[in-house]
Amino acid sequence: MTRPARRRQRVPLPLLLPAGLGLLFLVLPLAGLLVRTPWTTLPRRLAQPGVLTALRLSLETATAATLLCVALGVPLAWLLARVEFPGRRLVRALVTVPLVLPPVVGGVALLLVFGRRGLLGSWLDATFGVTLPFTTAGVVLAEAFVAMPFLVIAVEGALRGADARYEEAAATLGAGRWTTFTRVTLPLVAPGVAAGAVLCWARALGEFGATITFAGNYPGRTQTMPLAVYLALETDVQAAIVLSLVLLTVSVAILAGLRDRWVGVT
């Protein structure tokens, strides 16, 4: 897209004011945390053994959950955006269920399905000897469940915004629906997929309720940063703040390091 090359960008006040307020609203609480950070004891707290493990586990599971969401969520979004089928409207609303469900209840629901006695879990256990609760895979599953709606909704929006006539052009050139999807549609909505994946990743990174309920809390196996933060909160608010800041710093650094790629600047 061509962007306007206006020489001097005058930003109108009715836009600048709420934008500034919005930014302040998002950033001030962070400042509140920074003010309360125990800077003197910070190095000691960071050096504690569990911190790095939890951080690594968080990043790994969030990334794995995002990949799972992309693999399943992009086709689902495509289905919702491009194929008319009865009940589509209901399906679309159902996609938002994990968003509205309190995460702890989501965890319970996952246990009811994938747990040892669950609908599918008992079968998985009996047939393959696979149990998901209390494993790292369970963490990924819980995070993916909670984060997937973000991906699906973002990608569906991008698909609807994309001009479907490009897909028609591809069809006249001999591309079937699958080739059109991979060669034309996906590249066209890549910015939307990236934005959705970022939302998804960030949400997975911060996931707590479903994870602890479904996968439990065991250091090195299922204890992600948010779980460590919650436990720290029980005894020591400052320790929780330090852990949160570590999580935030890493994620902001990663997102800022992605440049503008995730918002569709090519």
């Binding site: 006539r165 490009y166 052009a169 591809a170 006249t172 050139l173 001999g174 079937g176 059109t180 590249p187």
Partner: protein, 353 residues
């Protein structure tokens, strides 16, 4: 033609309140131009042929194969039709280079990457854009983009080639080259071609036959000579630059409105009479002499038209007359002025309506 035409279609389709119902036959190697005013349904017809718009009735047979037959629930998806399309607004894939846009079709039709690119390069060279192969569509000017779109559609060497205004965005010079290129390609390839265009010159140069649609219906068709000589609707008449009137003929006399025009041709019954604006001579007073058709008229407008001036006249029949600037100066033409119009019988053409 005794052999069945390569394309045999009866396109019936709806688009909102708009209804299309048109028959189209195109022989092997034949180029048909589809002309019509804005909103006549040209793009809709083209989309129906490409499989992008469903037929509600009728049929579409290409090379003996029924691609579309709503009554028998037969339908072929666009990607399985041997059809190439140049779209009115390009639709170049923005994420691919010009080269990869052109290579897209050959790739999908089975060529390997290297072969597809080689073919694409050849086509880009032919449309004069060999140097822009690596450019993304947004780095191309409007006309360059159109030429890439042309190359992309030609690169799949389709049985039926559909072009929606392929030359509209080209500058006069490139247009000439590309038109010649297109003509050469169309001459060489054995398939059928349908060309939607607004430009009568494109149609006359490129097409073997003209089909004119208005409001979703075919109103006239035939080769360039017939259509230009014997327009049957106002639209066609203006397209080919003729004054056209419908009246009742009785031998050499055709009565149009309150006026009876004497014509060289002999017709009886409902008839058209046509004559070029250049055949209308204007006089300040009633002329004597040979022109058989003379009537008083009033100037309603004067516009420059090429080197001449085109004068709009009201009177028993509304006509346009082309006069030279010198003649106009002599007559002192301005709106409201009364003049005498004269047309020689030899310059009129009459034919049954």
């Amino acid at each position: 033609m005794t052999a069945p035409p390569l394309l045999d279609a009866h396109l019936v389709a709806d688009r909102g309140a708009f209804h299309l119902d048109a028959r189209l036959r195109i022989g092997a190697g034949e180029v048909v131009a589809l002309l019509g005013p804005n909103g006549a349904g040209k793009t809709t017809a083209l989309r129906a042929l490409a499989g992008l718009h469903p037929l509600s009735a009728g049929h579409l047979t290409l090379d003996g194969v029924d691609l579309d037959r709503p009554d028998r629930r037969v339908w072929t998806p666009p990607e399985r039709r041997p059809v190439g399309v140049v779209f009115q607004d390009y639709l170049l894939f923005p994420h691919l280079s010009a080269l990869d846009n052109v290579a897209f079709g050959p790739r999908r039709r089975g060529a390997d990457r290297r072969a597809a690119r080689a073919r694409a390069r050849g086509w880009l060279d032919r449309v004069g854009l060999g140097g822009q192969a690596r450019h993304k569509p947004r780095q191309l000017s409007g006309g360059q983009a159109q030429r890439v779109a042309l190359a992309r559609a030609l690169a799949v060497e389709p049985t039926l080639l559909l072009l929606d205004e392929p030359l509209a965005a080209l500058d006069a010079r490139t247009r000439l080259d590309t038109r010649a290129e297109l003509q050469r390609h169309l001459g060489a390839h054995p398939g059928a071609t349908l060309l939607v265009t607004h430009d009568p010159l494109d149609a006359l140069v490129l097409a073997d036959r003209l089909v004119i649609v208005e409001q979703g219906r075919v109103v006239q068709e035939g080769d360039a000579a017939t259509v230009t000589a014997r327009p049957r609707t106002d639209y066609v008449a203006r397209l080919v630059g003729l004054n056209l009137h419908r009246g009742h003929a009785d031998g050499h006399a055709v009565t149009v409105g309150g006026l009876t025009l004497t014509t060289a041709d002999t017709v009886r019954g409902d008839a058209f009479v046509a004559f070029p604006p250049a055949a209308v001579a204007l006089h300040p007073t009633r002329p004597d002499g040979s022109p058989r058709n003379v009537w008083p008229a009033t100037v309603t407008g004067v516009q420059r038209h090429g080197d001449n001036l085109r004068v709009q006249l009201a009177g028993p029949v509304a006509v346009a007359a082309d006069v030279t600037p010198a003649a106009a100066a002599h007559l002192g033409l301005r709106p409201g002025q009364p003049v005498w119009a004269a047309v020689k019988a030899a310059e009129t053409r009459a034919y049954p309506a």
